[in-house]
Amino acid sequence: MSAVAEQTGQWLTEFTRQDKVAPWMQELRESAFQRFAELGFPTTHDEEWRFTNVAPIARATFRAGSADKLLVAPEVVEELDADGAGAPLARYASFRQNAFVALNTAFLNHQVPVTVLRVPAGVVLDGPIEITYEVAEDVANDPGQPGLLSVHPRILILVGADAHCTIVENYKGAGKYFTNAVTEIVAGDRAVVDHYKVQRENISAFHVATLAAQLGRSANFSTHSISLGGALVRNDVNVVLSEGTEATVNGLYIVNGTQHVDNHTSIDHAKPHGTSHELYKGILDDKSAAVFNGRIIVRKDAQKTDSKQTNKNLVLSDDAVIDTKPELQIHADDVRCTHGATIGQLDAESLFYLQSRGIGKQQARSLLTYAFAQDIIDRIQVPDLRQQLEKFLFEKFHEHAQ
């Protein structure tokens, strides 16, 4: 048996064990699984996965299980029956190219119910939609179950034209497990969507996630990917803009120990007059590793596109590794696209300046590290979330400072 067949074979057992769902979904599952079997898990020979070795996931034996899902949403938000036909599932997050999306789609609605939400047109929500997936320790470490726990959360959110909403996704858990999440967001014309994904998985967990956002004309979309936990993490953010769409794509990753986090973003300016701002910042300590790959596509008729991409990394140790790469594909001629990446250490002069005012060296280091992340935190519009993160950062760097 080939390596790919060996890897997919054990997933086939899990796949066939699933409860039946509605025929349209069953069909979707089957074509996704077939695609997964064809693709196999990516290797570092794939350009898209060059710096991220998923062998620890490919080699392990998994069972498909459940995570606790908590959904909090304003009353006006409609929760649709995932099993019912009509939900445009899997239309935006393609499983043709990505084995993990294929795997997620193959396990649609199994153990972790699919979340399909609709924000009616013209509605301005008075509070955030918050979806939390939490892996319980007794589920992850169930001795009666062979293999590692895998969970495949799936979200589809349809935001109507002119609606305003805030969406927060939380991922956390205990024990060793594998979260393989896919989220699709469709924003109608002129909709305003502020999206956050907060990844605080257990330090030994694997986390792979794809966000696919399809944005309408003159929509204003921002997404913030905060990546703090996990042993091996890969986030894909794929955003497609229409005419006059404004997109903000931000990210913050903070890793230490032997954590590995890979952020791949793709911002597709499909139509003219789109604006995108992208800012990813990373703080790396110990022997951690981070990857940033920022693809910007400007299609042939997407004239007057204005796009700015920045990736900044603060490296606190000698052994951390960062690979950062912009990937600009520009097919229009009247556009403005800028990109830049920096990798640096704490500035010795700034440290001395703070120390010369009586602030201890360790406190000065924490202060400067915290300050590095500050501009991403400042842009978080959900007060609770901002406070939680400020607390997390404070404690993290305070701890680091000891």
Partner: protein, 257 residues
């Protein structure tokens, strides 16, 4: 006991010796001006006193209040009452001026056994000092020195000094880059802080600043050594005759403004 006693101080950066045996005694309440051409070691002396790690002390001794100063980390020197007004104040995006200064003041107060100030008392204190330096209060909420003009940065240094109330202030070319109005303002701030308990070392290239901050002693530094010491009249002599009058080469080409 003198407040500060520098004895035969030698310091290097990399392989290059910058300070080649400096001796200087500063008593409480005195203002000493250190003058000298570029490259003479003035700024190095200032930074060595504040504890900049870039420089290695290779010989000599510095006693501050009878204690070995060179043993102390930069933050411990600040807590003991030493303040360096930077020639090039550092921009620190992401840290507000207010947070920074409150953290600094409270750390110093705590180390001196004083109670930490709460936000209200801190603001009250700071408002007075801002008025002294004619500073806009919005500067408090801005990140440290970020987007400040050259003059604002220098004023911010003296403002910090006014808040932290050091025993020994070292002003490193605080006059550089200032127009005459800004210079007068900075000098006024400094003069307000003069007291019998507070000593100052004013490092400057030009005599101009010393018209406004009148020193008790003037020392001329050249090639890492003090070549001449005197009263305030020495500064006037330098003004008239230039460094050349003392037989010192002054390379104007590298003047940093």
């Amino acid at each position: 006991m003198s407040l500060l006693e520098i004895k035969d101080l030698h310091a290097t950066v990399g392989d290059r010796e910058i300070l080649k045996g400096i001796s200087l005694t500063v008593n409480a309440g005195e203002v000493h001006a250190i003058m000298g051409p570029n490259g003479s070691g003035k700024s190095t002396l200032a930074q060595v006193l504040a504890g900049r790690e870039l420089y290695t002390v290779t010989g000599g001794q510095v006693l501050y209040q009878g204690q070995d100063l060179l043993e102390l980390a930069p933050e411990d020197r600040a807590r003991a009452g030493i303040f360096l007004a930077f020639q090039y104040p550092v921009e620190i995006p992401g840290v507000s001026n207010m947070y920074f200064l409150k953290a600094a003041l409270n750390t110093i107060r705590k180390s001196q056994g004083l109670e930490e100030l709460d936000a209200f008392d801190f603001l009250t204190l700071v408002r007075d000092k801002m008025t002294l330096m004619n500073m806009d209060q919005t500067l408090l909420n801005r990140p440290v020195n970020t987007g400040f003009s050259g003059g604002e940065k220098k004023r911010n240094e003296i403002f910090q000094m006014a808040v932290l109330e050091p025993r020994l202030a070292v002003l490193d070319e605080t006059d550089s880059g200032l127009d005459i109005d800004a210079l007068k303002l900075v000098a006024h701030g400094v003069n307000t802080l003069r007291s019998p308990e507070r000593s100052m070392i004013v490092v400057t290239h030009y005599q101009r600043l010393l018209e406004y901050i009148v020193p008790d002693y003037v020392h001329v530094l050249a090639d890492g050594r003090i070549v001449k010491s005197g009263g305030k009249e020495l500064a006037l002599q330098l003004e008239k005759e230039g460094y050349a009058g003392l037989g010192i080469a002054d390379d104007e080409e590298v003047v940093v403004v």
